[in-house]
């Protein structure tokens, strides 16, 4: 099973290599794998053929005169979209609104200047996780002691939720770093299904 799952990972790497999106390090690892895996070599050949054939798929070549007609036809349609002479009126209109908006803008700028240093309650950005974490980091700043304490509080909450005594009963996870490096969603789902099967009694 592990062998099959490894090959699944390399299939994605083969695809990335075709798009020149594979790092040098992974390319070397892939080459070593291909040297010893006939299935993956065949898969790579098939994908290369698909790539080669796809690039040969014809797009109807249009005669040079087509582009002249294209530009003329498009030009006519674009000119019909004018008059953009209305735009100056809109421009004037928006300047009118801009004068009205100036005091609002001034208040906003002043609020920003005077209030930015105050730490806002975390729930201000209630729907943004990153914004919440940002506030947290700002509040902690460079205070390593506070960071350490906060970590301890979080770990304490974690241990309330998880009984760490059950860790010993959990299945052994692979200790091979590369195995986990690029595990995809599908593969994770597969792992979970296998774990579920093992635990059903």
């Amino acid at each position: 099973m592990r062998h099959v799952m490894k090959c699944r990972k390399y299939e994605k790497w083969i695809s990335d290599a075709l798009d020149r999106a594979l790092s040098e390090r992974k390319t070397k690892i892939l080459e070593d794998h291909l040297a010893g895996c006939p299935n993956c070599r065949v898969y790579k050949e098939r994908l290369s053929m698909i790539q080669h054939e796809a690039l040969r798929l014809e797009v109807t070549e249009v005669p040079p005169s087509y582009w002249q007609e294209f530009s003329q036809s498009l030009g006519k349609k674009l000119r019909a979209l004018e008059p953009r002479k209305e735009a100056p009126n809109q421009f004037r209109l928006s300047w009118k609104w801009a004068w009205l908006g100036a005091p609002v803008l001034l208040i906003w700028v002043l609020s920003f200047i005077f209030l930015r240093d105050r730490v806002q309650p975390l729930e201000d950005n209630i729907f943004s996780y990153e914004a919440c974490l940002d506030r947290l980091y700002q509040a902690i700043g460079d205070d390593l002691g506070l960071e350490e304490n906060f970590n301890r509080v979080i770990l304490g909450s974690l241990s309330e939720g998880l009984d760490f005594a059950t860790i010993e009963e959990s299945p052994v996870l692979s200790d091979e770093a590369l195995f986990w490096e690029d595990v995809s969603d599908e593969e994770l789902e597969f792992i979970e299904q296998e774990i579920k099967k093992e635990t059903k009694s």
Partner: protein
């Protein structure tokens, strides 16, 4: 009827996630990264409890969550580098305005990317949760963030370890 989840399954998923996020060869997670990881774990755990996620939902949502977190990590690494470069630029004497503007634009773009990742995950949740769970998620988000604030206040009053910084 509430399906009971084996606790060790949750443990495995959380530890699996740690392996996935922590596998940077040759590096130990820094303090802030560690903190982020722990907050992520806590958030997932609390979310699972509050939303009463089924095993099927857990098996779908956890991997998606870790995938998004992994992508965010990449962005954060780039963001940290950019911020560091900007700081150096500002500290220097010959910083040009358009150079600074360009860096600021990049940083804002990266922050936007981070926010977009959150939205991606939220959209994924939208598809995976029932209406009741969606409502519970909204309330959970508010309360979780408030709870983090309370934890921070608790951490402020705890005695500090006496060590050199």
């Amino acid at each position: 009827m509430k399906p009971k989840k084996p606790l060790w399954l949750l443990t495995s998923l959380l530890f699996l996630g740690s392996f996935l996020l922590g596998q940077v060869p040759g590096q130990k997670p820094m303090g802030r990264e560690r903190m982020r990881e722990n907050i992520n774990k806590l958030r997932l755990l609390r979310m699972t409890e509050v939303l009463e996620l089924t095993e099927e939902q857990t098996a779908k949502i956890y991997p998606a969550y870790y995938r998004v977190e992994k992508e965010k990590r990449g962005i954060i690494l780039t963001l940290n580098r950019e911020i560091s470069d900007l700081k150096s630029l500002l500290a220097g004497t010959d910083a040009k305005e358009d150079q600074i503007a360009s860096r600021v634009k990049t940083i804002k773009g990266l922050k936007g990317d981070l926010a977009q990742k959150d939205q991606e995950f939220e959209a994924f949740l939208e598809k995976s949760l029932t209406e009741t769970q969606k409502a519970k998620y909204l309330i959970f988000s508010v309360e979780f963030y408030r709870n983090l604030g309370e934890k921070l206040n608790r951490a402020r009053v705890m005695p500090r370890d006496k060590r050199e910084n």
